[in-house]
């Protein structure tokens, strides 16, 4: 997912704000075989559809990054369960294959690794948050 950068800092968060303000359940952008998606817990609204608002599109276009998503359902850990250190805080530069976080499912900690080198642009979850399959954990920038 290669997108043009205009104002990279805080874009994921501004997307989250748009989701809230527009009452959207989810925004998703697909490019090639990469995908970026933000969603929020929604109120049950049977008639709600998913309009593709211009400002959402613009915000997405403004974002260059690789969304790191969870491939499991469980609790996310940004801190090393043994060492207590945080390997990939916002702003950190990470190597390809480096551990970014852990997902704890039924007691087992599964590592989440960086598919490429880059800088951690945003963290969209907090230590111990429940996460679902496909949920964006953090966004990596650059490093291509």
């Amino acid at each position: 997912m290669d997108m043009e950068v205009t104002r990279p800092e805080g874009q994921a968060r501004s997307l989250a704000r748009i989701l809230r303000e527009e009452g959207l359940a989810e925004v998703e952008v697909e490019m090639g075989n990469q995908r970026f998606r933000l969603r929020r817990r929604r109120e049950p609204d049977l008639l709600a559809t998913r309009p593709a608002g211009d400002d959402v599109e613009q915000a997405l276009e403004a974002l260059e990054g690789l969304a790191i998503t969870s491939t499991r359902v469980g609790l996310v850990h940004l801190r090393d369960p043994h060492l207590g250190t945080t390997p990939a805080p916002v702003g950190a530069t990470v190597e390809e294959g480096q551990v970014l976080a852990w997902i704890q499912t039924m007691g087992v900690h599964q590592e989440v690794r960086a598919p490429r080198a880059g800088r951690v642009l945003e963290t969209l979850v907090a230590e111990g948050d429940p996460v679902e399959y496909g949920q964006v954990l953090l966004v990596l920038q650059g490093g291509n």
Binding site: P44, L46, M106, Y133
Partner: protein, 452 residues
């Protein structure tokens, strides 16, 4: 009673369970694949978890993800629906380990009734008749002995066969001699396994099943039968209750047999005891027990007025059944047509696409259980059931008229469906007269009746 239940299914049954929970004041946790993100059951649930990508093996069958979702959400119980993990002893085990209630039978009963040989043995001890059959037969002398005891026709089945393959029917002693040798040779060449079993063959048998409900306090009741004889390649198409061929005496006798079988397995929850019924002789034979809520459960619900899914949940929570056998009355007649996303003109090939237009039937005596809505995308990953149309009338004629009227009203555009196929099927003289049997649909489709 539970405060929160996780629904480990999708489609119409997930919605059905969600409705029962809502009525009981129980909060719901929906799980879904990425493809089902927009589904009705997801939008209606109190909480949702995406548990994997489209293929069921990675999402709806992903036990660790389901358990994690249940634990995180603080659900006390998991309702498996039908299909997927509904008959998985593994899920029951894992639920127990994690302090979750599995809404269904206990592990022992599920294992016992899930094993055909053990189930057969269990019900025989209760005096429930089973279809006469043999273990492996190697000598034609043994085959003749079986024929002498049980009479013709006899089905010869390859041990390694399945889905109708390697099956031959012998109508007399000459047939038996001939088929015995060829069936063995065939089985050997087709499956590399020449073992043959014999079974009494019922040419125009009916598939009649009894709905049972058992609580954890020793009460077991049956809710009458469903006649599911209208099948195509072992897939049920139309179900009805009551059956046109059971007398009140037979209903009581078979119902009691179903209750005995259920009790003997230590069962609790909702289940179905399946029988083959021979209308010529009035004989019935236990086939198997399904340890889940079934697709066709609404048929029994509308004739008894009992909400089976709510009872399942209540019983799983340890509550006693609120009624006894005498309280169960069958009122009127009910039919269910399963509307699938299939093309009857093209050998019932799965039909994928987006629902462009949808009008569901309604009016007196019609219930439609469906997850369909305009814009719904029929996916290749899941089964083809789109909707269940259930018609209830004071008698069979009224139920049939209502079903016919409902199918006329129903409009689904965007995918091929079996709506028109059902209309033609219900118009046949055989169906009108109730002269149905498990091979009726195949006979009708290959016969001149189709052009009529």
């Amino acid at each position: 009673m539970f405060k929160k239940i996780l629904i480990a299914n999708r489609g119409e049954i997930a919605l059905r369970i969600l409705r029962a929970c809502r009525e009981l004041g129980i909060r719901t946790v929906a799980v879904h694949s990425e493809e089902d993100r927009e589904s009705l059951h997801v939008r209606l649930a109190d909480e949702t978890f995406c548990v994997g990508p489209g293929p069921a093996a990675q999402s709806y069958l992903n036990i660790p993800h389901l358990i994690a979702a249940a634990t995180i959400a603080g659900a006390e119980a998991i309702h498996p629906g039908y299909g997927f993990l509904a008959e998985s002893p593994r899920l029951v085990e894992v639920c127990e380990k994690h302090g979750l209630v599995f809404i269904g039978p206990g592990l022992a009963a599920m294992r016992l009734m899930g094993d055909k040989a053990q189930a057969r043995q269990t019900v025989v001890q209760e005096g429930v008749p089973v279809l006469p059959g043999t273990d492996e037969v190697t000598e034609s002398e043994d085959a003749r002995e079986f024929a002498r005891l049980h009479g013709y026709p006899i089905m010869l089945k390859a041990a390694a066969g399945g889905g109708g393959k390697g099956m031959r029917v012998a109508h007399g002693p000459e047939d038996l001699e001939r088929h015995f040798l060829t069936a063995r040779a065939e089985a050997q060449s087709a499956f590399g396994d020449g073992r043959i079993y014999l079974e009494k063959f019922l040419p125009r048998a009916r598939h009649i099943e009894f709905q049972v409900l058992a609580d954890s306090h020793g009460t077991v009741v049956h809710l009458g039968e469903r006649d599911c004889s209208v099948q195509r390649r072992h897939q049920k198409l139309v179900e009805e209750s009551p059956s046109t061929v059971l007398t009140p005496e037979l209903r009581r006798e078979m119902g009691e047999a179903a209750v005995r079988a259920t009790r003997a397995s230590g069962y609790s929850g909702a289940g179905t005891v399946e029988f083959l019924f021979d209308p010529q002789s009035g004989a019935y034979y236990f086939l198997e027990m399904n340890t889940r809520i079934q697709v066709e459960h609404p048929v029994s619900e509308v004739v008894t007025g009992i909400d089976l899914v709510k009872e399942q949940i209540r019983v799983a929570a340890g509550l006693p059944l609120g009624f006894s056998q005498q309280d169960v009355q069958l009122r009127g007649h009910a039919l269910e047509c399963r509307i699938n996303a299939e093309d009857p003109e093209n050998d019932f090939a799965a039909s994928l696409g987006t629902i462009q237009e949808l009008h569901l039937p309604g009016g007196p005596g019609i219930r439609v259980d469906t997850h369909l809505e305009r814009g719904y995308v029929v996916q290749p990953f899941y089964d083809s059931l789109l909707a269940k149309v259930i018609a209830h009338g004071s008698n069979r004629e009224e139920a049939l008229a209502r079903m016919d009227r409902a199918l006329h009203e129903m409009r689904v555009r965007g995918v091929h469906t079996t709506v028109d196929f059902h209309r033609r099927l219900l118009e046949t003289g055989e169906f009108r007269r109730g002269e149905i049997h498990t091979t009726f649909v195949e006979a009708w489709m290959s016969g001149p009746a189709l052009e009529a």
